[in-house]
Structure formats: C-alpha cells, structure tokens
Amino acid sequence: MKKVVLALLLIGGGANVYAQKYMTRTGKVSFFSSTPMENISAVNNEAGSVLDSKTGDVVFQIAIKSFKFEKALMEEHFNENYMESDKFPKSEFKGKVTDLSKVNFAKDGKYDVTAAGKLTMHGVTKDVSIPGTITVKGNQAILNAKFKVKPQDYKIKIPSMVENKIAKEIEVTVNSILDKK
C-alpha cells in the first residue's frame, strides 16, 4: 500500500509541474485618449491572459470588438474605421517578465516588474517594454500596467478631419486578476 501512496504522490508531483500558471478570461484593459477637443475612453472586460510564474512568460489576448465605449458611434468608428476589426479581430501581447527574480509567488506582496515582448494590433507587431506591477495575493496574481501607444506606429490612419480629437499617444491601462491554474 505504501508503494501505491508513493506512486500516487509521484503522479501528483508530476501534475504539480503544471500548476505554476495564472490565468484569466475576464481581465480588464482600458484606454484613454485625451485632447482639448474631446476625451475618449473605452474598456474591455474580456481580456484573456496567462502568466507562467516559473518562466516569466506572459501573454494577453483581446477581442477588439469587446471594447465598450461611452458613445455607440465611437465604438462603431473604432471597429470600422480605425482598428478594422473584421480584418484584425484580435490584439495580442506575447512577452516575458524580465525581472521575474524580484517576484516571490509564495509570498503576498506587490512587486515592480517590467514585461518585454511583442505587441500586435491592427496587423502590426512592435517590440515593447512595459513597466508594471505584479501583486501576489493568495492564489491570485494581479497584473497592473500603464503604457502609451501611438496609433501611427500601428498603421492606424487618422484622417485630418478628426486629427485634433484623437490623441497622438493613447494611454492603455491593464488591470487583470489572474487565478492560479
């Protein structure tokens, strides 16, 4: 019997190798464009994200159509004219927490980190480095980050007519609670 227990323990131990990932389907990603003419904000509460606490790999995936705007017409313009969400339905970030050694996933606390990787939107991929924090709270890892994105970098065309209503740099805020898997 002892051997069976041992065997089960070993099998259990094997499974534990995979229990190092944190994941969510309901992460929050929002953005804000501020100009003297108009402020535009949008929020997406359906961001998918996985963090591998062992390797530091982190990914985000969001459906462009899931961004909600205060004004319905803005949402339509965002999808139809700027992000062309029929053509480019998803935006992705694939990267790595570069200073993972700072984070102790066994201990609750807030850790300053940087994630470096590739951000893809509107069919264009760019290397980015994003400063943020990982807050460990029991079986949860909360990812917070704030960074700026230039629409021009991602070939998002803004016609001169509305140039002064859309900021040159859009502020993106990430606030996602990931659960241990």
Partner: protein
C-alpha cells in the same frame, strides 16, 4: 497483487522522469516565442471549452439604420437618440429656373431611439401629405461570423396618419379619422458577405385604410432588394429597389441609388431616387415619377446621434 503496485511505481517514476527530461530538453530547444505560443494555445483551448463564450455577432452590416429611402437591418444602439433630417428635392429636369429641383423640397424630421440593442422606436413628421409616423424595429435573428446563423432578420412595422384638411363631403357623410391611416409590415433579411458587400431583401405589406380610387387595392405587396458596397472605410455606395406585385397604372417601382459618407458624428446619405416621399406607404406604393422620364430627384438624409443613457461600464 504485490507486483501491481511495483509496476505502478516503476511506471510512474519512469513517466515522471521522462516528462521532466523531455521538459528540460524542450525548454532548451524552444525559443521564447514558442513558449508564449503555448500560453496562447492555453487561452484558445479555454476559449473553446467555455460554454459562456459569446457569439461573434456580425456588426456594421450597414452604416446606418436607413439603406436609402427604406430601413436597413441596423438598429439604433441602446440608449442612443438618433435625430434625422431628410430632404427630397424636386425633379432634376426642372432645369435651371427651378435650380434642378432644389427650389422644392419634401422634408422629414424624425427621432429614433434605441430602447434596447434589439428594439428601436421612432417617430417622424413628413411634408408629403403632412404625415405623422410611428415605427417599431425589432431584431429577430442575428448573423454570426464564421459559421452559425448566415443572415440577420428584423421586423419593421409602422403606422402613419396623414394630416391633410378633410375633404368636403356631401351632407350626412362623415370623414372618419381612420380614413387617414396607413400600416406597413416589413421583414428585413440581410447578409454581410464580407467587409465590402452587404445585401438585403425586404418583403413588404402595406395597408391603406382609404385609397384614392376604387381601382386601387387597399393592400399591396412588394419585394425590396438592396445592398451596399463600401468604397472605403467611410464611404459606401448603396442601392435599393422595390418591386410591387400589384401593378397599377400611374405608379412605378421606386429605385434609389445612394452614397453614405461618414464624418465624425454624422452620417450623410446622398441619393438619387424617383420617389419624392419618405414614408414606406408612399415611396413603395405611391411613387409616380419614373427614372426614364427624367423624374429623378436629389435628396439627402442627415443623422446626428446623442447618447441619452450611457452603457453600464460608464455609469
């Protein structure tokens, strides 16, 4: 019996070792990109597994709630008030003395309101026969991207009242209020084939409580066909044709060609049409001008939206 746990143990030790060995080897072989791909796959798997996954409904089949004269499958978004000002001018063949028809105009002023994302209510007043109209448009089926429901289906219905002075009738005869009323029932069946092309069919029934002459039926049936072709993200060409199954002398089918131009907060719809009225009972059933005879009219619809109730994320 003793052998079994031993085999199990051996097997599990072997298996675990093998897994970790493989793990170690593949770690080295794998590039960082591949590792994050694995994480992406994990998201995708979860995606497919979850029953609560949202259906990817097709959006923006048309730019606005009107195709040209008639309605499109698009509803006004929840909590949004759409203020519409539409004009149809006189016939182009009026020549320079009538400024190619621009001296005369039929006007419609109306409000559409999105009660929910699937129900729009509207009210309007038109110049032609001083008509007041109330309508309801409700989504029944919604097209889904990539497999699933291939079409969107909506019901559109209106009731309208013309406000002309009552005719002088012989003594003892009464002109009932109901004589002024019209009813329209329509189904809108649309499919967005790709981001450039959308097509719509509009089977229509119209009831006139009172018709001008005894030769005219009180109920007419028509089939509308229309579509839009996008020239760019902000400009599209639209067309709309209504074929009446009850053919009547003096009336013709309405054909309209339009162009949607979208600016920041407005959608302009410019058009050429042989219909001068803007209510369904009039432009589908009672259009008198013909394209062939130069009875072509320039017109436009302007739409301005106001957000009355903010989405829940912004309350």
């Amino acid at each position: 019996m003793r052998i079994i746990p031993a085999i199990l143990l051996a097997a599990s030790v072997f298996a675990t070792n093998a897994v970790s060995a493989q793990d170690g080897k593949s770690k080295k072989a794998k590039t960082e990109a591949e590792e994050s791909d694995d994480l992406m796959d994990m998201l995708d798997e979860e995606d497919q597994g979850s029953a609560t996954k949202k259906k990817p409904y097709t959006t923006a089949t048309f730019k606005t709630s009107r195709l040209v004269n008639g309605h499109s499958i698009e509803n006004t978004a929840k909590g949004v008030l759409d203020f519409k000002v539409n004009h149809r001018f006189g016939a182009l063949d009026g020549g320079f003395s009538n400024f190619f028809g621009l001296d005369n105009a039929n006007t419609m002023i109306g409000f559409d309101y999105g009660v929910t994302d699937w129900l729009t209510l509207g009210f309007s007043r038109s110049t032609y026969e001083k008509e007041y109209l109330g309508y309801v448009k409700a989504k029944i089926l919604r097209q889904v991207d990539k497999g699933g429901m291939p079409i969107s289906l909506s019901y559109y219905g209106n009731t309208s009242v013309q406000g002309m002075a009552a005719p002088t009738l012989p003594a003892g005869q009464e002109y009932h209020f109901s004589n002024r009323m019209f009813y329209v029932n329509q189904l809108l069946v649309a499919r967005k084939f790709n981001q450039w092309l959308s097509v719509q069919l509009m089977p229509t029934h119209i009831h006139y409580n009172l018709v001008p002459t005894t030769a005219e039926p009180n109920d007419i049936f028509a089939m509308g066909v229309g579509g839009r072709f996008k020239l760019s993200n902000r400009v599209s060409i639209n067309a709309e044709y209504y074929y009446r199954f009850n053919e009547l002398n003096g009336y013709s089918n309405s054909l309209s060609l339009g162009c949607d131009i979208e600016t920041g907060g407005h959608v302009f719809q410019l058009m050429l049409t042989n219909a001068t009225a803007m209510t369904e009972r009039a432009f589908i059933g009672q259009t008198v001008n013909q394209w062939g005879d130069g009875g072509i009219h320039f017109g436009f619809n302007i739409s301005r939206v106001f957000t009355i109730v903010k989405p829940k994320e912004f309350k």
